[in-house]
Amino acid sequence: MNNKLVEIKNLSVSYDQNTVLEQANLDILPNDFLGVIGPNGGGKTTLIKALLGLVKPDSGSVKFHIPLKKVGYLPQINQIDKRFPITVIDVVRSGKTGSQSFSMFSKKQDDIKYAEQLIQEMGISGIKHKAIGELSGGQMQRVFLCRSLMNNPQLLILDEPGTYVDSQFESELYEKLKELNNRMAILLVSHDVGTISYYVKTIACVNRQVHYHPSNVISTEQLTSYNCPLQIITHGDIPHTVLSQHENDDHHHGHTH
């Protein structure tokens, strides 16, 4: 297929001589719902930061076939200062790219209307003038999702959106993403393969290298051969398979259904 949105080619990234990503290759296609999985410290976040141009690669390339402003981004929520004096509506409006007036008194109606529409769709209209410090984890995640949608993106990148929220909101969120997937490609980073494999169409396992699977089912043998120490539950016709925990990996939680 030639209509790729993004092509990542032979991408290598290192921090202080520690190689985090080595010769990574990944293509993102329209309508993709790609789950990026892998152990903590395996390079998932580095992969998307390099993709977004936030981290400089040692070698390799990231080629966009869509305008950069058509990429929405939801970073890990723990990176955000929750006591910063900013209101919900301002956080959502900060997702806007391109020409805009930054003046305190500018009332750009289109932007405000679109931000309010997103807030309403997410069911949080009641809190739009609250400071972000007053929100629950689930509300905050909705706010940041609104921000990432502010440019009506063609590709939405989410870094661990399921953390710091309760399980009910987590499944609501994934349902919402499924709905959004009708009009945009989604790249979802998570260490929680069990939950996301319900929703994603394809999987990329990142552990220094990137291994791509053109389906949402991934077998024990494949994972071990890729040195991807994760527990996994597959869904569908295949019986449940729970992987044993990798010996030096104590970060992941077991899942039961």
């Binding site: 977004l52 936030l54 950069l68 990176q79 910063f84 301002d90 900060s94 003046s103 410090g133």
Partner: protein, 281 residues
């Protein structure tokens, strides 16, 4: 001790030195109120402390060369502000270490050059502890110009400043000029600090950049409301502190800080009582 009446207050305003002090506290409130809101929101109070103390190096060199010490202080403040950022980002020195290096280096240079300057260094104490009554007319003009520039800058580029301050990394993904804004604001912080040194002094200026903001933060958690409220509290603190220092005859810098702390303490107590006692019914 005199008793403050409306009459004596009006009489005070007829004195030049008092009018100067009044304008100085107004401009200090405007500049420190605005810049301090940014500093507190962004949690760079310690960076500002580093810049403040590093500027003492410039004051020492100013004395030694016979310049206006504030010119030297301005150069040192801007350089140390940019230096702290560069050390942290490019040379990968940990931020608090980088701050401490500039902080102490500036102080050391200041002490050396004041020692090397023949004779007694006049006004040295006013740079360290402030003396709002000795602010010159030129300094007042500079403080006024800075206040006006800050008001315009923070109104016209409000959203740019807010977005970069709130989430720098995300701001990069939306294509905002993050580095330019950061360096520009560090320079504005440095200039604000230097021009307000005469009001409360190097040792005490951090409080003018944080206490009114902490008080304002009790009332609002919205950056654009925090700025004018901080200006208001900074002005109340400086003006009441000024009167207090005049009537009780104590150093103005310390008196202003004391008033600011008192204001914060009283407001905090009022909020505590409202939340824990009144709403309990």
């Amino acid at each position: 001790m005199m008793i403050i009446t409306m009459g004596t207050l009006i009489e005070l305003f007829s004195y030049d030195f008092f009018m100067h002090a009044f304008w100085a506290s107004l401009f200090a409130a405007i500049s420190c109120g605005i810049v301090g809101t940014y500093i507190v929101s962004r949690r760079i109070v310690f960076v500002s402390g580093g810049i403040t103390h590093a500027s003492f190096g410039g004051i020492g060199i100013g004395y030694f060369l016979g310049w206006n010490p504030l010119v030297g202080a301005a150069i040192f403040a801007v350089l140390s502000g940019l230096g702290i950022q560069l050390f942290t980002q490019k040379a990968k020195v940990r931020e608090d270490s980088s701050i401490a290096i500039w902080w102490s280096l500036g102080m050391a240079i200041g002490i050396i050059f004041i020692y090397l300057t023949p004779g007694y260094a006049p006004n040295l104490m006013s740079y360290l502890f402030g003396s709002v009554l000795t602010v010159s007319v030129t300094e007042l003009w500079l403080m006024g110009a800075l206040s006006l520039a800050l008001i315009l800058f923070f109104i016209l580029f409000y959203r740019l400043i807010l977005y970069v301050a709130f989430d720098e990394e995300f701001a990069k993904t939306t294509g905002l000029p993050v580095n330019l804004i950061n360096y520009l604001l560090i320079s504005l912080i440095a200039i604000t600090i230097v021009l307000n040194i005469r009001v409360v002094g190097i040792i005490l200026i951090l409080s003018l950049l944080t206490l009114p903001q902490a008080t304002a933060n009790l009332f609002t958690r919205d950056f654009k409301r925090m700025m004018p409220l901080s200006v208001l509290f900074a002005f109340i603190g400086s003006f009441v502190g000024l009167l207090f220092s005049f009537y009780v005859d104590i150093p103005s810098g310390a008196s202003i800080i004391f008033t600011l702390v008192l204001l914060f303490g009283l407001m905090k107590l009022a909020f505590f009582i409202r939340q824990n006692i009144i709403t309990r019914d």
